[in-house]
Symmetry: C2
Subunit: 276 residues, 2 copies
């Protein structure tokens, strides 16, 4: 029987975007084990309703608990916005999302008190970043912009492409005109086109990547709860240290995961998530 | 108890694309009732595996049968490619897809014997159009091209836009260089950007819209089976003649349906499709 702190951390997303969060956890906490679930059969979440996102997220949490995780990271902004407030009420292990850490960092970073947030339609219309930032730093102006074409453009690999530039210009123009000095990448896909976004908003706007901040918050949380892993991973153990599950298209997911995570060859297994 | 021929036709798609097929049925057969299901919670199907698309399609067929339909139209190329061959084996009512009608028309239309097919990744990699056309007109060259960004561009309303032009040029360039004279719009979303596609391939390439051909095949089928509706619809009956169900986001679906179908105000109801 493992000691509780040696159990894995559960991380989930609607698909591949949450890998940017998993990658940060691997970088910052190389001793932690991870069980990742990507809901590739039902991706994207960003155009779905609150009820649907909540019901899918609850299934995933049940699956991760069945894998004996010690904590859960909701590595998806849409699920963090729509499902986390409900799930946190009855989850038997500590659970955090990506919204709060990003909001805290942005609220600290802005000098002019104007923060832009880009995300899916669901995340933006939930108003979650506005509420979070208002609590942390009342009076801050938060300007949201849904960017529904970013996820398909990222998934098609057009990370550096004139089409992505053009779409990004359209989405970001109004935020720029409003004079923001801080921009939250409020969807876990967006760090993959961070360069394009940075080029368009220019060096005067600070980009906040909640993936990075979420990994820091996870470390703090595990420390507080005495749950930090202390055993060094065994030799050649990427395969056993990091387990990936998806609801569809495991091969495609694996290829993608291996292109952005450089910790040895990873494999991925398909499960029927609607049975949880 | 209704006479069997007065029962509705079931039509389904992964989301909104199948409305182009429903619209053709309404135009060509104004007496028919329709029960439409759009799987808006799990859209898109085009990047999913065969097993997942089959399992989702089987749920939808069970739902439509529970609505007492006299026949079913699979108004989705991906589901026609991946699920129809299996479902047809045990479906208790006549069922047709969109692939066969489009393939027949294209095989008749080509003079040079070179047909292009554009569709989702799933439809193109299934090779279903190639197989169909080879059976109808052996020796025809069929050139497939997956266009994964077309569905999100259509869903975002960029029907006439320089970005859609640019993406279409990239997708269609190779087919043009190969000298096709016929192009199948192998995804029910694509007729909505038919103008853009037509402008890029030019007037020498004939576009085949399977939605149109599928409605003709449905009429032939209903006639053969003595299932054509004979009662004229009642006054102001668009609401009762056409019933729309979706798995999520009914309001958004309704707005979209009303923008492309001009037969009175339509409503849409959300159901839990994974319970079928």
């Amino acid at each position: 029987m493992s000691k509780r702190e040696e159990l894995p951390v559960g991380v989930f997303d609607s698909g591949i975007g949450g890998l940017t969060v998993a990658r940060e956890i691997m970088r910052q906490m190389p001793r932690e084990k991870i069980v990742y679930f990507g809901d590739t059969a039902r991706v994207p979440y960003g155009n779905k309703s609150r009820d649907t996102v909540l019901s899918y997220s609850e299934q995933i949490v049940r699956f991760l608990l069945s894998q004996d995780v010690k904590a859960i990271v909701v590595a998806c902004n849409t699920a963090s916005a729509y499902a986390l407030p409900e799930i946190v009420k009855h989850c038997p292990v500590p659970i955090i999302g990506v919204v709060e850490p990003g909001a805290v960092t942005a609220a600290r970073a802005t000098r002019v008190g104007k923060i832009g947030v880009i995300g899916t339609k669901a995340t933006i219309s939930s108003g979650i970043y506005d509420q979070c930032i208002e609590r942390i730093r009342p009076g801050t102006r938060v300007l949201g912009q849904a960017c529904p074409l970013f996820v398909p453009l990222v998934e098609e690999g057009l990370w550096e492409d004139p089409v992505t530039d053009e779409i990004a210009r359209r989405y970001l123009l109004e935020l720029m005109n409003e004079g923001i000095d801080t921009l939250i990448l409020g969807c876990t896909h967006y760090p993959l086109i961070r360069k394009t976004i940075g080029r368009i908003v220019g060096p005067s706007v600070q980009l906040v990547n909640p993936a990075y901040e979420t990994a820091i918050e996870l470390r703090d949380l595990l420390q507080r709860e005495n749950l930090l892993a202390s055993e060094a991973p065994g030799l050649g153990s990427a395969e056993s240290q990091y387990r990936f599950y998806v609801s569809d298209m495991a091969d495609q997911f694996r290829a993608f995961a291996n292109s952005i995570i450089k910790y040895g060859i990873l494999s991925a297994k398909t499960i029927r998530i609607d049975q949880y």
